[in-house]
């Protein structure tokens, strides 16, 4: 790691102020992606602003027909939350399947979506559940938030405060893990709710999470695994590496979508 200044603000306002002052700051929430990146000397921030100690960012609230999750809420907390399990069991299951137990004890929802790793799980939940991302500056729809590999709509100095997930009627997430890294090689989140039907795919695309319109249309007409069984996403634009070709990933999107619909019931 290169040298950096470290700050651990207690409030969001302090965090914003520190971000404003620093030359080239990085926000650290749980650190499960940022710290490995720093260790590999792939980033050289002037300041690391640790928002993990801001109490106001660590909460889960069920209000009305949605669940609000604070940005610094750990994956394990989401996975074990009675509210999340009750209203959005697919989301709880997704959080409970990120990384490994130790990673889930540190990693946060805000960190995950702000980083927008193309193989991360939470972006699929956000896009697949029509989530709203609240930041220190504005509200961003999930559809507008994810801009490509490791890119989001966040601006400099903007901090995610919370993510709102409306309750789905039906939802499930199915993940095919990369055998080595255990990140999603293909993860498909399907849901039906007030927003209609959504199918969001993570892991497979070169530009990160994306929706599959053909599948959404088919499921809108007929919510059943068979409805998506015959729909293939084009292999163009999907990742291809030693773990599998783009064609294989395209095939897995269909298989995982089918299984997710079956699991959602």
């Amino acid at each position: 790691m290169y040298q950096f200044n470290y700050e651990r603000p207690k409030t969001l306002a302090d965090a914003e102020a520190l971000l404003g002052k620093a030359d080239d700051p990085k926000i650290l929430a749980g650190g499960q992606t940022l710290i490995p990146t720093l260790k590999q000397r792939l980033a050289m921030p002037s300041d690391v602003i640790d928002i993990g100690g801001i109490k106001d960012l660590d909460f889960i609230r069920a209000e009305g027909d949605a669940i609000m999750i604070g940005a610094a809420t750990r994956h394990a907390t989401v996975a074990q939350s009675a509210d999340v399990k009750k209203h959005n069991p697919a989301l709880a299951a997704l959080a409970g399947g990120i990384g490994d137990p130790a990673v889930r004890h540190m990693g946060t929802i805000g960190g995950s979506i702000a980083n927008n790793d193309p193989a991360a799980d939470y972006p699929a939940a956000c896009l697949g559940l029509d989530a709203k991302i609240h930041t220190t500056k504005r509200l961003i729809e999930a559809d507008e938030f994810f801009k490509g590999m490791f890119e989001t709509a966040l601006q400099d100095g903007e901090i995610i405060k919370e993510v709102t997930f409306p309750h789905p009627e039906k939802a499930a997430y199915m993940k095919f893990r990369n055998p080595a890294s255990r990140y999603a090689m293909v993860g498909v989140f399907v849901s039906r709710g007030p927003w209609g039907v959504r199918v969001a795919v993570t892991g497979a695309g070169q530009n990160g999470v994306f929706r599959v319109n053909d599948m959404e249309e088919a499921l809108s007409k007929n919510w059943s695994p068979e409805a998506v069984a015959g729909i293939k996403v084009p292999a163009t634009g999907l990742n291809s590496d030693l773990h599998g070709s783009a064609e294989y990933r395209a095939h897995l999107v269909t298989v995982m979508a089918k299984r997710a619909v079956a699991a959602a019931g």
């Binding site: 790691m1 290169y2 040298q3 950096f4 200044n5 470290y6 651990r8 650290l28 650190g31 499960q32 710290i35 490995p36 720093l38 260790k39 590999q40 690391v48 640790d50 993990g52 394990a76 990384g99 490994d100 137990p101 130790a102 990673v103 004890h105 540190m106 890294s181 255990r182």
Partner: protein
């Protein structure tokens, strides 16, 4: 350099360290507690697992500063008055270790897993070990040891 203070195995620990100091470096280099190991640099092998405020974390993927004020438990802090923790005892009884290098992380992970999962079964143990790599045992006896310890601790 910032001063980082925490409680490690029940004793206060404090040191002036660079901000970039990892928790595992603090434990091994500042405190000389070398039971916690480093086996990879991509946060996957789990040889470095310790408990921070009662939860298993990878001490190679956490800054020491993030543990400011926390209660940290390492492998050295498990046995009380010379008596092994039931998970330590089970690893020996069921030959859940060979070279011993991954063992501290395995044991710390196992304790955390048993805490969170009453009524563990083999499949759950194997899934819960996703973040801990062992090259010697083929996991067979590690799984056996954890299941036995979870029975013991019920």
């Amino acid at each position: 350099m910032p001063v980082v203070s925490m409680t490690v195995n029940g004793k206060p620990a404090s040191a002036d360290v660079e901000a970039r100091t990892l928790l595992v470096q603090f434990i091994r280099e500042q405190l000389g507690l070398t039971g916690t190991h480093v086996g990879c640099d991509t946060s996957q092998c789990g040889a470095c697992v310790v408990h921070v405020d009662g939860r298993a974390v990878k001490s190679c993927t956490m800054l020491a500063a993030q543990a400011e004020g926390a209660e940290v438990l390492t492998i050295e802090g498990l046995a009380k008055n010379g008596e092994l923790h039931p998970v330590q005892a089970a690893f020996r009884e069921h030959h859940g270790l060979q070279c011993g290098f991954c063992t501290p992380g395995m044991i710390m992970t196992a304790i955390d897993m048993i805490r969170r999962n009453p009524g563990l079964d083999e499949e759950t143990v194997r899934e819960e070990l996703e973040g801990n790599i062992c090259r010697c045992t083929g996991y067979h006896n590690i799984v056996k040891a954890i299941l036995a310890a979870s029975q013991e601790m019920r």
